[in-house]
């Protein structure tokens, strides 16, 4: 079953179509990545999912059923911009949001305490939100989204403002959340975060331009660049002209840009068959950003 199913969902603000009629199924038991640049319509899609705003048309289903607007405890939400009461004490704040999502008082408090321990903020329970650093506040925001163990947790740019150590902590917590049965939707413009996701959708200008398993997308859109190191003077142009469209020579190292459909190993075997003195060979990994740019520009783009 799918965690979330969007069919023909659409939303405009005035003349601007924020989300064009869109179909998307987010499978269950996954960390699903919603990747795209700022202004692509990710946040609008999220807000519609949460019922904060209503779509102009189309339906959104939660676990195969029409989403019950009343039952908002099914969702957990970490918004892009921090949304906490600056003057509230951390523990009170967590308990307040837990209550709003239907937790009983006793359960609420024990989960808040365990949650704080998990994100290493136990010592701050009685401090006010405004006394915390940006990164710490982000941890609290994450707890607010997850404490009631929602069916779907939607995290909008969760890593912004975090140092690398805390990014790793967040990723651990997010994986644990998935393992405990919560579906995670991760929305970010930092496309390198795709590694955390099993499946992704690339969003651009209110449309989904690419969707699927990260590995498959990688395979499909693998890099078209190989790096070859030679033991002696490289002399290859004529040899590879059928396979590559350009060569960038840098001393004894050459970066070849392959023609469409050519695989790295074709280049390698050709060179070896010709008896070239190859000392190193590597295929550059295409970054998700590169793939995105290529998809958006119709496959002709070049990564910068």
């Amino acid at each position: 079953m799918d965690a979330l199913t969007y069919s023909q969902v659409k939303k405009s603000f005035g003349d601007v179509a924020a989300v064009k009629p869109l179909d998307l199924a987010i499978p269950e038991g996954n960390i699903f990545g919603l990747l795209g640049p700022n202004g692509a319509g990710k946040t609008t899609l999220i807000r519609m999912t949460l019922g904060i705003i209503l779509p102009d048309a189309g339906t959104i289903q939660l676990l195969g059923k029409p989403r019950d607007v009343k039952d908002r405890s099914s969702f957990g939400y970490l918004p892009e911009e921090r949304g906490l009461y600056p003057k509230m004490k951390i523990l009170d704040l967590l308990i307040f949001f837990g209550k709003l999502r239907g937790l009983s008082t006793a359960e609420d408090k024990s989960r808040a305490v365990t949650g704080l321990k998990r994100v290493e903020l136990s010592a701050w329970a009685e401090k006010k939100v405004e006394e915390l650093s940006k990164g710490m506040q982000q941890k609290i925001q994450l707890l607010v989204a997850l404490l009631h163990r929602p069916k779907v947790a939607i995290l909008d740019e969760p890593f912004s403002g975090l140092d690398p150590v805390n990014v790793d902590l967040f990723k651990e917590v997010i994986r644990e959340t998935r393992d405990s049965g919560t579906n995670v939707v991760l929305s970010t413009h930092q496309m390198e975060q795709e590694a955390l996701c099993e499946q992704i959708a690339l969003v651009n200008k209110g449309e989904i331009v690419l969707r699927g398993h990260v590995d498959e997308i990688r395979r499909q859109y693998g890099s078209r660049e190989v790096r070859v190191a030679f033991g002696s003077e490289p002399a290859t142009d004529g040899l590879l002209s059928g396979l590559v469209e350009s060569a960038n020579v840098d001393g004894r190292e050459v970066r070849y840009r392959m023609r469409e459909g050519v695989k790295g190993r074709d280049v390698a075997s050709k060179l070896i068959q010709a008896g070239c003195d190859v000392t190193g060979f590597s295929e550059a990994q295409a970054s998700m950003h590169e793939i995105f740019v290529r998809v958006v520009k119709g496959g002709e783009g070049h990564a910068n």
């Binding site: 019922g51 009343k70 918004p79 949304g83 509230m88 209550k99 709003l100 925001q141």
Partner: protein, 430 residues
């Protein structure tokens, strides 16, 4: 979509606890009555208290008969039935001593002494062409009405006796003629019941109306700012992923209203103590308590309804503004709905049954204040109270519904403030 009351309750609880726990709550709760008390009681207390040494006034007598009489005269008897007033006057008596100018001290010399602050003032007594008394006061400070009231009443009394004497009447008869008539006031209520009128007849309705006025203004603005703060700090996004906008709005209104009620309860209890112990002897007037049960019930009803009415509007304004300044501007027209009936307080009390007053007491915008003023001033027909309350209930439901729709859209709007047509569209579409 049904309202989830446990959500509303959670919001109420947070608003209440967070505000009551703040130090500023404690401070305003304690400071306000002190300031208020000071403003209301100090002038009275200061005039009652002997302020430093009494004024020294020399009497320069050119009549040959009035001087000693003015110095010796007791003030004319007053029957104002106003304790505060006569107390102040009494104190003015004590605050000045009159003394005949020593022989050989002429007015010019005394004026120089006044200029050098050696003497506070001089009272020149002369006979006019009809042999009647003419008086002039010389002094550095001419801004004490109490002093002149005192001087005037002494001069009146001396002059009256002098005039009567010159008509050949005996002094004892003259004193008799001088005495004033005592006017008592008796309040008549339904069924011909009567009780003695008191200053509280006048003060109670004003106090009730002011309580409502201040409370709505203070806490209405607090609600507006609270909404604005939630909107700007983006908490609202997290909240609305779990709470419906209407639940949030109602929770805020009730939560903040409870804070206000708590504060007012504290003030009433404190005020009660002061009332019973204050130096003006107000409790003498409390007999035959002028506040009826009906008035108290109405106070509570008008407070609750008026509060929801206005706070919904304030919440709606807060929801579609982005800055405090914007909100301040927009709340003016809303606040004027309260300010206008409050400004019209005096004519309302004087003509509580005039058509325009009756109209104001029926219209939901002004009824909380005007109707309370009227119930204090006259016996308002029950049908008018009923109609006023019914209209207010309907108005409140309408406004809350409208505000809810504006709130729902406005709270998530960022950037430019929406135009009026846009807001109207939200109301239709939301």
């Amino acid at each position: 979509m049904r309202t989830d009351w446990s959500n509303v309750y959670a919001v109420i609880r947070r608003e209440f606890l967070e505000r009551v726990r703040k130090k500023s709550f404690l401070i305003t709760t304690l400071i306000t009555p002190i300031i208020f008390g000071a403003v209301m009681i100090l002038p009275g207390v200061l005039t009652v208290m002997k302020t430093g040494k009494p004024l020294h006034i020399l009497v320069v007598d050119k009549t040959g008969w009035a001087g000693p009489a003015v110095v010796a005269a007791a003030p004319a008897p007053q029957q104002l039935g106003n304790t505060l007033h006569s107390k102040a006057e009494e104190s003015a008596q004590g605050a000045a001593t009159l003394q005949m100018a020593p022989k050989g001290e002429d007015l010019e010399k005394i004026k120089i002494a006044i200029g050098e602050s050696k003497v506070d003032g001089a009272l020149l007594l002369e006979s006019d062409k009809d042999h009647d008394l003419k008086a002039t006061y010389f002094g550095q400070n001419l801004s004490s009405p109490q002093l002149f009231q005192m001087l005037n009443s002494r001069l009146d009394s001396v002059a009256v006796v002098h005039r009567l004497n010159s008509l050949g009447l005996d002094r004892s008869i003259a004193d008799k003629l001088k005495s004033r008539v005592d006017l008592d006031t008796v309040k008549v209520t339904k069924g011909g019941k009567t009780r003695e009128g008191s200053i509280l007849d006048f003060l109670i309705p004003i106090a009730l109306a002011l309580v409502i006025y201040m409370m709505i203004l203070m806490y209405g603005v607090a609600i507006m700012n609270g909404v604005l703060e939630e909107k700007n700090s983006k908490v609202v996004e997290v909240l609305l992923s779990g709470v419906r906008p209407f639940e949030l709005m109602m929770g805020k209104i009730v939560g903040i209203a409870s804070v206000g009620l708590l504060q007012y309860t504290i003030w009433f209890v404190l005020g009660g103590f002061v009332f019973l112990m204050n130096p003006m002897n107000f409790q003498a007037h409390m007999e035959g308590s002028p506040v009826s049960i009906l008035q108290l019930v109405l106070l509570v009803l008008y407070f609750i309804l008026g509060f929801i009415f206005y706070s919904s509007l304030y919440a709606a304004i807060g929801s579609f503004c982005t800055t405090q300044q914007e909100a301040q501007q927009l709340q003016m027209p809303v606040a004027s709905g309260l300010i206008i009936p409050a400004v019209l307080m005096a004519p309302t009390l004087m003509t509580p049954n005039a058509n325009w007053v009756v109209a104001l007491s029926l219209i939901p915008v002004s009824s909380p204040i005007t109707m309370l003023l009227r119930t204090g001033a006259v016996e308002v027909p029950y049908w008018q109270i009923g109609a006023s309350l019914a209209l207010l209930v309907m108005g409140t439901i309408g406004v809350a519904w409208l505000a809810g729709r504006i709130f729902r859209v406005g709270i998530l709007m960022t950037g430019k403030r929406p135009s009026i047509p846009e807001v109207l569209r939200w109301i239709r579409q939301a």
